[in-house]
Symmetry: C2
Subunit: 255 residues, 2 copies
């Protein structure tokens, strides 16, 4: 059996997330597996580096699958892109060692959460950004983010209450940047703030709850130091709001 | 009668252009006028700075309308944004002198045409960019663009053959820039090239034909100097292809 590693992009808007489900085929994994069955005649399991939730996008999701095929990697990529809907694309594919596993071998991931800080409606990136009207104190958010960097028990920052697995994770970096673009300057109405998170793994809803908490600091509803207390409390209720899925994109998976 | 000047954004994808038509209400102007009728009970004509074609977007279209209303500009803006579909937005509105006319008073406009120079499918900005797989020589395109800047008869660069109006226009600047973005670097697969055109007015299809011609120079199908010959020929057949509407955005109207 040959093993292929793919890098995928998708707009999550109309999908029920990555993971296939019995009652719907409207998942990324489901779409990929149906297509590979059509291509190979075999039941192929597509293993993602991790699940993305309904509405979350991917700029560089990684997945692998084993298949008996004589097709080259290039031929498979072309075939898949010919049949995939326009909101999913295979942007690279290569044959890898049989033991490669996209989830188990992942060393780290980077997510980006996009916030548009504006009072007026926004048309163009409306499917990819979360709009916040309140003024945001970027320096306060940067200070608060420092408490999250490092190895911590992130139990307060996940919606998954029942799991008995470890909730300890390591965040390598959090970068908060204000994006300047010519088109924004032109009208001077919109500021985009991007939250970049890199770490060895993220719990269910973790990036969205961290972002929601940082935004509350940015609105001066919390002091930056409170983030340390939230972490220590291990209690979800103490953390901030879960921000919408559409602002979140899985940017990269590192091996 | 009070006169209101609005700045509008819209994604052109699903509309049949700016100008209202008898057989469809699926135009930007048609949507705006229907909404203002609902708001004021009056037949209000919304005058745009110019038409945009089906599929063309606007980041900063300007329009004005006269109405008898006691509402403030802010109230009108809020009302309109509450009822407009999510692909149209009023991003600013103010009361202006009665004689202000968004088309007749316009001194200049800026358009941006976005090209994604990539071999792989593109998911995120697929509604806003034209994808070109061939390698593009940016320096050659910049040299070619210099022949277009200035006051010329652009008859070769319009699809409108029957009009007997002047086809002389002045292009103030053409800027061709390669956009660098963190997310593109991350995967290293996509280069975006933006063509910015500023001028006192543009003929039907002019920006899209100029861009198509410059792209042919970028692919080395034409020499930069040929652009001067195309201009002088006054003949549409000598210019390049009309590139797709979806890459084009009206960025700004100057008064």
């Amino acid at each position: 059996m040959r093993n292929f590693k793919m890098t995928l992009q998708y707009e999550g808007t109309r999908f029920k997330g990555w993971q296939k489900q019995e009652n719907t085929d409207n998942t990324i994994q489901g779409k990929m597996e149906a297509l590979l069955f059509r291509m190979t005649g075999q039941r192929v399991e597509v293993q993602g580096s991790g699940r993305t939730d309904a509405g979350v996008h991917a700029f560089g999701q990684v997945a692998n699958f084993h298949a008996d095929t004589k097709m080259s990697a290039e031929e498979i990529m072309r075939y898949m892109n010919d049949y995939l809907p326009e909101d999913i694309a295979v942007i690279s594919i290569k044959e890898v060692a049989e033991r490669f596993h996209s989830r188990l071998n992942a060393r780290g991931k980077t997510y980006c959460y996009r916030v548009l800080n504006t009072q007026v409606p926004h048309v163009f990136d409306r499917r990819y950004v979360h709009v916040v009207g309140e003024e945001l104190d970027i320096d306060a958010m940067k200070s608060a983010a420092e408490y999250l960097v490092g190895t911590h028990d992130f139990k307060a920052f996940t919606s998954n209450k029942r799991s008995r697995k470890s909730t300890v994770r390591t965040i390598e970096t959090i970068r908060i940047e204000k994006v300047e673009s010519a088109s924004m300057e032109l009208l001077g109405v919109q500021d985009e703030i991007r939250f970049w998170y890199s770490g060895n793994g993220f719990l269910y809803h973790m990036v969205r709850i961290m972002t929601g908490t940082l935004l509350e600091v940015g609105m001066h509803k919390r002091r930056p130091e409170e983030v340390a207390e939230v972490l220590a409390s291990m209690c979800r209720e103490n953390a901030g709001e879960l921000v919408p899925a559409k602002g979140l994109t899985l940017m990269e998976v590192r091996y």
